[in-house]
């Protein structure tokens, strides 16, 4: 690994000052699980690393009073899996974080760090997008709130601007009575990234008509992908097996996977359809 200077600011203002001072040569670190690996491989070579651990107030989980939960960027992924408030009000989120890698990694990696890393294969983004979550990006000039759906711009590229730090995530609850699942297709090992993954939330009325639906795929393109055409084929329609099949088939045209050792692009497209069908069917059953 190359030489670098490590900074431990104790306030956000101090961190913004360091970002200002070192600009492009600085990288922000929270858990470090992604950044340190990239530095070891020499793919990232910052001269200055700004650790956020000593800044107080960034690792709390709290209800915002309107049913949504505000999660500090430095909360570990393990915390997301075990926190009583998350388990009770956001079971989809707790279940999704439980599927990330291994407990050793989840104990180190953080919610905010994972999101700004911008890796399209990660587990949390599809579930957070399906729930309509937003991130708070703070800078010297103030705060701006960006929906997680708009955070990812390209492969490992996010909307986080120079001088900004992701400080918290606002996660609303799924509609009462809806069902939600996160499915991760893992043909290799249990701790791998998904070959494809799907988060689905289905809100159905008593007659099985779809009031609303969210379908978001991970590992299926250069960013997480919200399958809007597939959603439109279900919204305000009866949730019959035939309609669910037609909706899942539409996903093939919405994903744009990369060939890699987890499968060819064509195989991933087919699996995106299969796992969307399963995710919608299971969400419908879970909501009953």
């Amino acid at each position: 690994m190359i030489d670098f200077e490590f900074h431990s600011p104790t306030s956000l203002d101090e961190a913004f000052g360091l970002l200002d001072q070192y600009g492009d040569d600085a990288r922000v670190m929270s858990g470090g699980t992604a950044l340190v690996l990239m530095m070891k491989q020499r793919l990232a070579q910052p001269g200055h690393v700004i650790g956020l651990r000593r800044i107080p107030g960034l690792a709390s989980v709290a209800s915002d009073g309107n049913g949504a939960v505000r999660v500090g960027a430095l909360c570990t992924q393990r915390q997301m899996e075990t926190d009583p408030l998350i388990r009770q009000s956001l079971p989809l989120v707790a279940d999704t974080y439980r599927k990330v890698a291994t407990p050793r990694i989840r104990n180190m990696s953080t919610v905010g760090g994972g999101l700004v890393h911008g890796d399209p294969n990660q587990d949390p983004p599809p579930s957070l997008i399906a729930l309509g979550a937003s991130v708070v990006l703070s800078s010297k000039g103030g705060e701006r709130i960006v929906p997680v759906e708009d955070l990812f711009i390209d492969y490992f590229e996010t909307d986080v601007q120079p001088g900004e730090i992701l400080t918290s995530v606002l996660i609303p609850q799924a509609p009462a009575g809806s069902g939600a699942v996160y499915l991760k297709f893992l043909p290799r090992t249990a701790d791998d990234y998904a070959t494809v993954s799907v988060a689905a939330i289905v809100d159905a009325d008593e007659s099985n008509n779809c009031r609303d639906v969210r379908i978001v795929l991970g590992a299926s393109g250069v960013t997480p992908i919200r399958a809007k055409a597939a959603e439109d084929l279900l919204r305000q329609r009866p949730l019959t097996e035939e309609n669910i099949r037609a909706s899942a088939a539409a996903v093939i045209g919405e994903v744009d996977p990369l060939d890699d050792f987890r499968g060819s692009a064509d195989y991933k497209r087919q699996m995106a359809e299969v796992f969307t069908r399963r995710a919608v069917t299971q969400s419908l059953a879970a909501g009953r």
């Binding site: 990232a44 890796d119 490992f156 590229e157 990369l258 060939d259 692009a265």
Partner: protein, 149 residues
């Protein structure tokens, strides 16, 4: 890695040809290319900043005009560049062929064959292919703008 891109330049074939061989003018049409300076006959030095996924690369290298055949409307270029920090290099052969469509329109075919070496090669072909494709498309768009001005 071989790529082929076609684009329409809104200028006559003569104007397009002149622009194509004016390397200090045309090279900055490639996103991230800057500081193009002459380095002998038909040879230029340039730097290019590019981001591929999580990696920021700073290439410095040379562009050489290998062949120019105005009759055929074909020019061949050779590019060699390296990033010392990340540790990787590229070598590219670029052929550009222009054909007149109308007095005000010229079609340009860009054929590139690029070899990636060192760390850059580890980033994975699919993602490099996408980046190279989008870079060539941006180049074509910028060149069209340049030709109009």
């Amino acid at each position: 890695m071989k790529l082929e891109n076609r684009c329409l330049v809104p200028a006559s074939v003569d104007k397009t040809w002149a622009l194509l061989l004016d390397i200090p003018q045309v090279a900055p049409c490639i996103p991230g290319v800057q500081d193009v300076i002459s380095d002998g006959e038909n040879r230029f030095k340039a730097v290019m900043q590019v981001r591929i996924g999580p990696v920021r690369l700073n290439f410095s290298g040379t562009i050489s005009v290998v062949e120019q055949d105005k009759e055929k409307g074909e020019a061949r270029f050779h590019i060699e560049a390296a990033d010392r920090r990340v540790g990787g290099s590229i070598r590219a052969d670029l052929t550009m062929q222009i054909t007149s469509i109308s007095p005000e329109e010229t079609e340009m075919l860009i054929v590139s064959d690029t070899v990636f070496m060192g760390k850059i090669g580890e980033l994975g072909q699919p993602i490099i292919r996408r980046k190279a494709n989008s870079t060539l498309q941006d180049f074509a768009r910028n060149l069209a703008k340049q030709a109009q001005s």
